[in-house]
């Protein structure tokens, strides 16, 4: 099966070659076949190429390396390597409980209809702020709204390790209804904690 990026690059190359033909020999558009070629080269293929390109970029934007390409997010990336099992993000990342290549996206998307679209729109806003807005310090970055248990339960609900834990069983319905947050103090309240990074030991240093 052809990789989507390869297919997209192929469409771009074909488009560029056809466009170059129009630039070099615009007189070919006098003939009927030339007119058809101009329509394909200057309208149809660029629209298809742009759509494919946008799709490829949206897929790439799910990758951990994309999120961490902004300087301000690098401390968050570093927290994934903290040598402390109480760090929720680190424990998930280091034990491959989430796909490591899409670590940020996996936990920060909304598992609802159009949740992926919403996550990508938030991502576009982040990119806008990174380049055209005021970038806050890493410690001052907060979620837009309180973290919803739904995102945790998307994987954990029904899992033996979750269901057989007495604390979870005692408040099962409240957790499912998001009445009690998984991140409540005393439970799983250490997630990224970038402010404490200087004091931490790391599992790996090559990040």
């Amino acid at each position: 099966m052809i990789n989507p990026t390869t297919l997209t690059v192929g469409v771009f190359i074909v488009s560029i070659v056809l466009v170059a033909g129009i630039i070099l020999r615009p007189e070919m558009t006098v003939a009927r076949t030339g007119k058809i070629m101009a329509f394909i080269a200057l309208f149809l293929l660029p629209i298809i190429a742009d759509s494919l390109g946008l799709s490829v970029h949206f897929e790439k934007s799910k990758q951990t390396s994309f999120c961490l390409s902004c300087h301000v997010m690098q401390p968050y990336g570093k927290t994934l390597y903290v040598d402390d099992k109480h760090y929720v993000a680190a424990a998930h990342f280091q034990n491959h409980r989430i796909p490591v290549e899409e670590a940020c996206y996996t936990c920060h998307t909304d598992y609802v209809l159009y949740g992926g679209v919403r996550a990508k729109l938030r991502g576009i806003r982040h990119v806008y702020v990174q380049y055209l807005g005021h970038v806050p310090s890493p410690e001052n970055i907060h979620l837009y709204s309180a973290y919803n248990n739904r995102e945790c339960l998307h994987c954990h609900l029904g899992a033996r390790s979750f269901e057989e834990e007495p604390t979870h069983s005692a408040m099962h319905d409240d957790l499912v209804a998001n009445q009690i947050s998984c991140l409540t103090g005393g439970c799983h309240d250490t997630v990224h904690n970038v402010g404490d990074l200087a004091k931490q030991k790391f599992w790996k240093e090559d990040h």
Partner: protein, 64 residues
Amino acid sequence: MSTQPKMQRRLRIAGMLTGLGLLVQLSTFFGIHASAFMAFAIIGVPLTFAGCTLFLYSLVSNPK
């Protein structure tokens, strides 16, 4: 001056805009970085859109 050279000049400019936009977009696929997405969205897409629009305009207009 006939209409054809003017039409062809517009097609050539449309081609240059579209081609430049496509080249910029193509270059953004070889890396995973927020700036690649920005170059795609802020430089590549508008150039391609401008080229397509000029092409359509050249079809509906009747250059003298």
